[in-house]
Amino acid sequence: MAKNYPLYIRSTPTENELKFHYMVHTSLDVVDEKISAMGKALVDQRELYLGLLYPTEDYKVYGYVTNSKVKFVMVVDSSNTALRDNEIRSMFRKLHNSYTDVMCNPFYNPGDRIQSRAFDNMVTSMMIQVC
């Protein structure tokens, strides 16, 4: 299949990119599970996904799926006083909006890595605001 490559990955200060990469990948399975599970509401605007709470790492993984099956996965440390659900949702919404903006660009081929500066900026600002 090899379809689950990340279009974009960015990590917070800790810069454990590889670790996050791995976490994201593992969470993809759960995301897929959820997608297939929900028959009626194909697009779950937000999918709070607190399942992955490792004792050591103590992080939370949130998932979000768009209509076009593009998945956004967010990993946050629980040490961060657990962001409220609203915040997570709004963050996903912003992500989605930025993603659609990127999509609008005719020079962007779906499936490419996302290199849009605007997108980067948005993500950075979001991360800063969270951490």
Partner: protein, 773 residues
């Protein structure tokens, strides 16, 4: 040979014309109007005139300086002679007759031609982009100097001699220098290494300094060839270069002429922009862009779909990443298509990039597409980019914008409510709640929502109901008021069921945001819903009812509970009756506590309260609704206030509380006011029930018992969702208070009884000895 060499005759002619146009005697600038007149008099087609203007840099500068003017005149001559308009043609075309203006004299045509001997560079090869013909380069040089001069228009006119010379110094470097030129003269914003033109720049720079003398050329001499102006686009991004390149890439079939004009335009633009913001698009540039736009999209008010734009810009051979960035910057409304403005901005950025300028992180102000029709952007917004939007059907931003405004326009409420809906849907897990929610949310009008915090789970759950109850009691009045208001307002906007139902439900819902599951789910047998009805009922009605039916109501209430299921009218009928008797009972029992007062107080209180509330809120609604179900209303109101009064009494104090209860009742009553008739009806029943309860507890055990009995039978008003829940909550509360009071009274009784017992025992004791004795 420099850019524009004019023969003497021409010179003279031109300066004559210049002074002719220079009505303001500025000696430097010519009034556009006059110039245009003049040009029109030249009997040239409009586009040619435009082109001339572009070429000479007037469009860029916005005015006709002497040099521009001269160049323009020369171009007119060229055009009139049938030569293609090109920058080079100014100098190359020999024997060019003087421009003919209908109204003017054109004697020196022949002489004019003569002067153009040199510069036979046949440029023509702009298509090659980079290396402009050497001669041109020279010209450019000259123009560069002129350019430098021109900006400092004031400065010009000094050194007639040198200028001509200096440009010629750098002929070899011309092609590149030309381009660089543009940057150089004004000190160049950036000595960016233009493609291949790097080395030339430096020499050019030298030439530049040398040619500073060229200033003089301006005034004294023939106006610097247009090319100079163009060339000396110091600050502006070397659009010219890019343009030349671009046109080459983009329009393969572009005539040299176009290229030339473009280039010159760019150069001129550049020059002008040396003064201004480097990102500013000069007129000529803009003209060029517009022309390009037209080739893709003839309608200037339309826009270019993303794919076409992509092809177009890809021809510029910039890396895709940069193009992508440029697109991001320039597609202002994010619709995947470019309006004219956006296109110009994008083009400009491409030019800049080609010339070595780094792309900005944000769109520079001068490139912001606000210049062009906002309606364009609006239109564009309305049409979600056809091309760009491959994915994300759900939230295309453009679709958002148009949808939002439309939403806003059409349904301001709905808009907000839609947001709330969103919130709700997100919050509420069950879909079924949505329906219920709708009413809730809808009413969630900001108004009501404000009063009653919106997001309340629709799922009828006890918790919610309890919450509701609390809320109700807490913000009972306000809620009711708002509910009232809302219900009216909302019934129209809501998508709910029937209106009356809706109204009721609105109210109920609002009140019981949390749940719809009506009293049924309420843990304690929900007391009759007096409040709902109360709220609904207009104060007037209530009062009337109260005064009239106080006694009866009580009874009616009592009788009512069993008949809960058929909420509607039937209940109403018995309701009132029940209420009356109940009321009567209550009244009677209240004798001690001035029952008259109680009912009356509530009346008063209700009345005033109702009035207050009604007045403040949607009185009409209440009235209307009240009217609809006058009986119900009255009954309910009567019962409600009474019950609420009583309840309040119970709550607050143990004894009299009549006064307290009255106001409390009123308040409670007012809350019920809000709900519309339907709920009123239901409430009526509940009220009836409640009233009896309330009364009872004040009355004491017997009544209490009755009340208690009635309570359990209180209804299961299901249907109404929120209202029901709210009502039930209220009822429960009231019941609680009643029961508490009952309890206290019973305790009292118990004590009394105990005392009696003790006394009796004592007596017995006393007697016993006797007996014993």
């Amino acid at each position: 040979m420099e850019g524009l060499t004019l023969s003497d005759a021409e010179q003279k002619y031109y300066s004559d014309l210049f002074s002719y146009c220079d009505i303001e005697s500025t000696k430097k600038v010519v009034v556009n109007g006059r110039v245009l007149e003049l040009f029109r008099a030249a009997q040239l087609p409009n586009d040619v005139v435009l082109q001339i203007m572009e070429l000479c840099g007037a469009t860029r500068l916005g005015y006709f300086g002497r040099s521009q003017f001269y160049i323009a005149l020369k171009l007119v001559a060229v055009a009139q002679s049938g030569f293609p308009l090109r920058v080079e043609s100014i100098n190359t075309v020999k024997d060019l007759p003087l421009p003919r203006f209908v109204a003017s004299k054109n004697e020196q045509e022949s002489r004019h031609a003569a002067s153009y001997s040199s510069d036979s560079e046949n440029q023509g090869s702009y298509s090659g982009v980079i290396p402009p013909p050497p001669g041109r380069g020279q010209v450019k040089k000259g123009s560069v100097t002129h350019d430098t001069v021109q900006p400092r228009t004031s400065a010009d006119a000094q050194e007639p001699a040198s200028p001509v010379v200096s440009p010629q110094q750098s002929p070899p470097t011309s092609p590149h220098t030309w381009r660089k030129h543009s940057r150089h003269p004004s000190g160049g914003n950036s000595e960016r290494p233009l493609a291949g033109s790097g080395p030339f720049w430096s020499p050019f720079g030298e030439a530049q300094s040398g040619s500073s003398a060229g200033d003089a050329v301006w005034s004294g001499h023939s106006p610097p060839p247009p090319q100079e102006n163009w060339v000396s686009f110091a600050d502006t991004p070397p659009t010219s270069t890019l343009l030349t390149m671009h046109p080459a890439s983009v329009q393969d079939q572009t005539t040299v002429r176009t290229v030339a004009s473009a280039t010159t335009a760019i150069e001129i633009r550049r020059q002008s922009s040396s003064y201004d913001d480097p990102w500013k698009i000069t007129d000529e540039q803009r003209q060029y862009y517009v022309n390009q736009f037209k080739t893709i999209q003839p309608d200037l008010n339309g826009f270019i779909p993303g794919s076409a734009a992509k092809e177009f810009f890809t021809k510029s051979k910039l890396p895709i990443l940069e193009l992508s960035h440029i697109w991001e910057l320039s597609d202002f409304d994010k619709d995947g298509a470019l309006t004219l403005d956006e296109f110009c901005a994008a083009f400009h950025l491409v030019v800049a990039r080609k010339n070595g300028y780094d792309l900005p992180e944000k769109l520079p102000e001068s490139l912001m597409p606000k210049l062009i029709d906002l309606e364009d952007s609006a239109d564009v917004g309305d049409q979600p980019g056809e091309v760009g939007y491959s994915g994300s059907p759900a939230e295309a931003p453009p679709s958002k914008s148009p949808s939002m405004p439309s939403l806003n326009q059409t349904w301001p409420e709905l808009n907000q409510s839609s947001e709330q809906w969103e919130t709700f849907s997100e919050r509420s897990s069950s879909s079924q709640t949505l329906t219920q929610f709708d009413s809730n949310i809808a009413p969630a009008d900001p108004d009501t929502a404000i009063v009653h915090p919106v997001p309340i789970r629709m799922t009828p759950s006890k918790i919610h109901m309890q919450e509701m109850e609390l809320k109700r009691t807490g913000s009972g009045n306000s809620v009711l008021d708002t509910l009232n208001l809302r219900s009216d307002g909302y019934s129209s906007s809501d998508s709910f069921t029937s209106d009356p139902e809706q109204i009721g439900s609105n109210v109920t819902r609002q009140r019981s945001h949390s749940g719809t599951s009506p009293d049924n789910t309420a843990p304690p047998p929900p007391p009759p819903r007096p409040q709902p009805s109360h709220s609904r009922s207009s104060s007037l009605d209530m009062n009337r009812t109260f005064t009239v039916t106080t006694g009866q109501q009580q009874a009616g209430v009592v009788a009512h509970p069993p008949a809960v299921p058929p909420r509607p009218q039937p209940s109403q009928a018995p309701g009132p009756a029940v209420h009356r008797p109940v009321d009567a009972d209550g009244l009677m029992t209240h004798t001690s506590t001035s029952p008259q007062q109680i009912p009356e107080q509530p009346n008063f209180a209700d009345f005033s309260q109702f009035e207050v509330f009604a007045a403040s809120n949607v009185n009409e609604e209440q009235d209307d609704e009240a009217e609809k179900h006058p009986e119900v209303l009255t009954v309910e109101k009567a019962s409600d206030p009474a019950s609420s009064l009583r309840v309040a009494k119970t709550d607050s104090k143990t004894e009299e509380k009549t006064a307290a209860s009255a106001p409390a009742n009123v308040s409670k009553g007012t809350t019920p006011l809000a709900p519309p008739p339907k709920p009123v009806r239901r409430r009526l029943k509940s009220e009836d029930e409640l009233r009896p309860e309330v009364d009872e507890h004040t009355q004491k055990t017997g009544v209490l018992a009755a009340v208690l009995a009635s309570q359990p039978s209180i209804p299961r008003s299901i249907g109404k969702d929120k209202k029901a829940i709210q009502a039930s909550i209220r009822r429960n509360k009231e019941t609680n208070t009643v029961l508490a009071r009952l309890n206290s009274e019973l305790q009292q009784q118990l004590k009394d009884v105990l005392e009696e017992r003790i006394s009796l025992e004592v007596q017995l004791e006393q007697l016993r000895p006797f007996s014993h004795l």
